[in-house]
Symmetry: C2
Subunit: 191 residues, 2 copies
DNA sequence: TGCGAAGTGGGGTGGTACTCCGTTTCGATG
DNA sequence: CATCGAAACGGAGTACCACCCCACTTCGCA
């Protein structure tokens, strides 16, 4: 969180252009769209792209930052809800649907999806962990959710579901269905 | 399932070499190991690799066929078990752990993980669907598992979990934990 | 043993990520 | 408003990849 000194105007402009182009390209071709093509569409040299975003992951973070922020805001609102269990599960559903329908988002959140990168520094993931953690502890406090569950686990599960359903015919529907299944449990409730 | 006429001896030999090399390379570098490098290690030209395996997916299928077959055999044995609910969940756990610890397997099963390919023709997935389907219907018949669940959903969930935990520090542990969570459910059982 | 078909692999094409470095542009300063 | 150093740029260069073409080699049947 070191405060960064102001960048030059042209740098800022190019940064924004790249993010905009990336948003388009990723929506069309998924999380591993061509960086070269993104730079081309943004009207900048490939070196400029790589200077602003040293890794693909950092570009993805920039592209999805706003949407993730919106999800976090939604979580903050939901803290008011009297039914903490539903608040948590509805929020998780929202995250799952967002991830399943926004191409590349799930891959971007899942530590890059791939192996490698010692410093993933996933800011987006951290934001969701913070926002969701609060909902979870409320739900656990109210006895609506098993106390031995961590928000990391839940988000991993949600992301896994998004990733798996992203390429299907009805991503939102499949994601919702799978998540509900996981939340309710597979086994019949033993009375 | 058209019966294929016998290939020449050298073709068979190269085929086997490629699969062996791919097994090594995928274990080291994951599901998107370099096909070029695999061909090199196998001592064949890249054209030969592409002739035997027209897509990356088909190579992955060949590499993992035996392991998947083993999982299916295990499912067949477990049909004898008196506790059909446990049989199903234990088998799903086995699949999850296998997928999480064998690099590339989850990606290979998840329709390629990526979009595209009209004819994925995922033989491995079909095998698991058959084998698991029987365990599921037994479990549903015994009332141990919710009747509104399909084996496709369960396997998708398992694969998603494998994929998400594959790159962590303790893939088998994380996969097992997440799967159990999904099977038991997140919410506290409402008495 | 000969010969045709099956199989091979080197080299070509076009794409990618990422870097080097000479050139351009900004913007603070006098 | 002119100057100038630092910041930023971008095209050309490197190294890798998937995939294809086609002249050549090898197999195995008769």
């Amino acid at each position: 969180m070191a405060l960064e000194r102001p960048r030059r105007a042209d740098a800022r402009r190019n940064y924004d252009r790249i993010v905009a182009a990336a948003e388009n390209e990723i929506a069309q071709h998924g999380a591993d769209a061509s960086l070269e093509e993104i730079a081309r569409r943004a009207g900048v040299g490939s070196a400029t792209l790589h200077r602003h975003f040293p890794s693909r992951q950092s570009l993805l973070e920039a592209v999805f930052h706003d949407r993730v922020e919106a999800l976090c805001a939604q979580a903050r609102e939901m803290r008011q809800s009297p039914d903490t269990g539903s608040a948590l599960t509805h929020w998780l559903e929202a995250v799952a649907v967002y991830g399943a329908t926004t191409r590349g988002l799930a891959r971007s959140l899942l530590g890059g999806g791939r192996e490698s990168e010692p410093p993933p520094d996933s800011t987006c993931e951290a934001m969701l962990v913070d926002a969701g953690g609060e909902l979870l502890s409320l739900a656990v406090g109210a006895g609506a959710v098993r106390p031995d569950v961590s928000i990391i686990e839940l988000l991993t599960l949600v992301n896994a579901i998004s990733l798996a359903t992203e390429s299907g015919s009805d991503p939102a529907g499949e994601a919702t269905r799978l998540l509900r299944l996981a939340i309710e449990g597979v086994r019949t409730t033993t009375h």
